[in-house]
Every structure is written in structure tokens, then in C-alpha cells.
Symmetry: C2
Subunit: 206 residues, 2 copies
DNA sequence: AGTGTAAACGGACTACGGTCCGGTTAATAT
DNA sequence: ATATTAACCGGACCGTAGTCCGTTTACACT
């Protein structure tokens, strides 16, 4: 399923592969624990990989073997919230989940994304940073994009909905939304209202 | 005027300040020359500040005093093209410049931006990279945003045109456009067509 | 020319992300 | 219990952006 294949797969759950060694499991737990502590203590931006290795009593190589990169670490920390968010718009109750008309689902999706960024935006931005190439191709990003595209098609928009969905995704990009919220002090409600206006006008014009 | 105050001001042109010392001027020329060479030889992404200092026969401190950061260097290299682009949509002939109806100007603006990214996108991306804070507040970005906002107002869109302009700016963000062009191999014409579709639907719906 | 000084210089230094590789150890087979 | 081995470990190491500060130098004034 989407959900299973698109969110990061946790190594302890993977089947078919040789079992995880006990020391590896122990270090993974230590790292996750330390990472959560550090993020809540200093904020995601201030956490360095050396700091994490030190706090977890683990070598630096271990940190990078586990997470691949700083962005990977942040994605891992985000994956629970991300999976929950995905569940809500794929399987959850309308208007976010299936059952409502496409326009309403689009509006609800934007609102939910904005709230999501309000809560996890710092992590999300950190997860995107320093990934110049995969930034727009990370699994969750692709899924959001596809979701918007599908809703546009359902609404009858068939002029290159893929690119149109890309434009709408850009509007909801965590970095941009976070910037509006934090730097420009724009309240979430105003962002949501603007999103509603945007997609309403887009879909009404035919 | 906009043009003068919003684009980077070149130190040799600034009045009222103590005149630039001759060694400073010499090093500035050397740095600019070396930077252009290096970018055309290796591409913007591969140029490092050490490399630049070395090629210009100058200390590293001098490089950073001059440009402030890597992003600043890239902006400087971009400033001529940027100023030209600004001139075109502020003073140039319609439909990009004043004189055409707002929708046509918007369409032309998007097309011009896409072509601009095709030509200078690598530099533009490099100029935005590693500026997590100022990325969306750099003078040219603010000017583009304001320009779109003004056109939206002229077209009669008065429901939070500032935020709506922000959404449209997001669509034209160099990093995203470059990603579509290079990674997804989407031809510029298709991007332009999608942009036209987007703004047309937005403005037609009333 | 000589002198004072503020500006500019430059390279050593730090911080950080990321890599590498020789040593260690947990699981498995005997 | 012992041997084997593949996975894992950790920290030394690298490249790069950016800072710092003691030294040099262009300019202005006498």
C-alpha cells in the first residue's frame, strides 16, 4: 500500500532481511531517545550530529550509518506524525478523507497541512534542508503532490493536472508556510483563508 | 526608485561614503573576474570560496568581507542579469512592461521568469541556498512578489492579494522551476502553458 | 618626505556535515 | 566451548563555510 511503501520503513519491522543485531538495536534506541531530547531541548536547528553522537554515547559513524544524513534523521523523527497525517487524508473521515467533493477535500487538505506545519514545521524544514536534489522528491512530498493531482482530476481539471498540482504544492511548502507564520507573523487562519480562495477560484472557473 | 534601491548596490558607485581604497578596488576586480571564470569553468555549484580566494590571489577573509557569504557572491554575479530583468518588467515594452492588461502581463511575467531560470537558474539556486532566513526576503524576491501583487490588484483581485501573490511566487521559485526543467525534463513551454492556465483561471473566476 | 590612522588584508582557526577503515562483537556453525 | 564471519562500531579524518585578529597599507594631513 501507499502508506507502507512511502513512509520510511523502520529497520526493526523489515522482514526477510537478517535480524538486527542486539547492539544495533540498542544504539538505535539510544539515538532516537537522544535525538528527541535534544530537539525538544534546543530546537531542531540547533542539534548537530556530533552532539547527538555524544549524547547517545555512540560514534559519529553510527549516527550516519543509521540515518544517512541530517535530513534523514529529521525525517525519521517526523515519520510518526507524517504517517498519521497520511492516514488522515487517505483513510480518515471527510472532508479530509474520501467521501467529500474534491474542492472541499482540497480546502481541508490545505488547512490540515498548515496546521501540520504549525506543529512540526521546524522539523519538516530541517528534513528538507541540505537535500538540494531529493528535496522535491522525498516520498511524503511526492504523495502530497499526487493527492492534490488526483483531487484536481476528480474536480474535472484535466489540463496538465500534474503541473497544476505542483504549483499548489509549492504554496503549501513547509518552508514557505513556516516563513509566513514565523517571520511575517501571519496567522494560520489567514493562510488557510487564502488557500481556500485560491483553490476555490481555480476550480470554479470553467 | 525601485530599481536603484532594490538591486545590490555596487560599492564603486556608492556616494557619500569614503572613497574605496585602490587595493580594495583591485581585489574586487580580481574577485569578480575569477568568480566569473570559475563559474563558467566548473559550474556555480562546484565553486568553493577557497578556490575563489586562491584564483584571485587574495585571502579568504577578503572574499567574505566583500560578499558576506557564498549566497552574497552568487547574488553579485547575478545582479546584472537581475537588473536587466527588472528593467524589462518595470519599464520595458508590453506585454511584460506596462501598457498591457494585467492578465497578459502576469502571463508574460511567468514566461519571462521561466526563461530567466532556464538561463541563470543554477546561479539563482546557489544564491538562495544556505540562506534559510533571507531566502524569501531577498530584495529581488520581494520585488517580484510586489509586482505580482500589484497586477493582481489591477485585475480586481482584492481578497488578500499579498498572500495570493505569495502563492504564485512559489510556483515560479527558481529552485522549483529548475527542478522541473532539469530533473523532470519538463520543457519550458509546458511550464509556461501551465502558468498561463493557472493565472487565467484565477483571474477569470469572478 | 614623514607620520598617523582607519581600512583592508590574509591566513590560521572553528564548527559542522559527511566519509573511511581498522578494530570489535554478536550471531551462527561446529 | 571454540572458531568463523559478517555486520557493526567509533573516532580520526576531510572539505567547506564562515570568523578572528595581528599585520600591512593606502590615504590624508602636516
Amino acid at each position: 500500500m501507499f502508506l507502507v511503501s512511502l513512509i520510511p520503513i523502520r529497520p526493526e519491522l523489515r522482514l526477510g532481511a537478517p535480524a538486527e543485531r542486539s547492539d544495533a538495536a540498542r544504539n538505535r534506541e539510544r539515538l532516537l531517545q537522544a535525538a528527541k531530547e535534544l530537539v525538544s531541548e534546543c530546537g531542531a536547528d540547533a542539534v548537530t550530529m556530533d552532539m547527538l553522537a555524544c549524547r547517545a554515547k555512540v560514534g559519529k559513524g553510527t549516527v550516519f550509518r543509521r540515518f544517512g544524513s541530517r535530513a534523514g534523521l529529521m525525517m525519521t523523527l517526523l515519520s510518526d506524525a507524517e504517517a498519521e497525517f497520511q492516514r488522515r487524508f487517505i483513510f480518515g473521515p471527510p472532508p479530509l478523507g474520501p467521501g467529500a467533493p474534491p474542492l472541499e477535500r482540497l480546502i481541508a487538505f490545505g488547512e490540515a497541512r498548515i496546521k501540520y506545519v504549525e506543529e512540526y514545521g521546524e522539523l519538516a524544514r530541517a528534513a528538507a534542508e541540505h537535500s538540494p536534489q531529493n528535496r522535491h522528491d522525498a516520498p511524503p512530498v511526492v504523495l502530497w503532490h499526487r493527492h492534490i493531482e488526483v483531487l484536481l482530476r476528480e474536480a474535472g481539471l484535466d489540463r496538465d493536472p500534474w503541473l497544476l498540482a505542483l504549483s499548489l504544492s509549492a504554496t503549501l511548502d513547509p518552508e514557505r508556510v513556516l516563513h509566513s507564520l514565523k517571520v511575517h507573523q501571519i496567522p494560520a487562519e489567514r493562510l488557510a483563508a487564502s488557500w481556500r480562495e485560491l483553490v476555490s477560484r481555480l476550480l470554479k472557473a470553467d
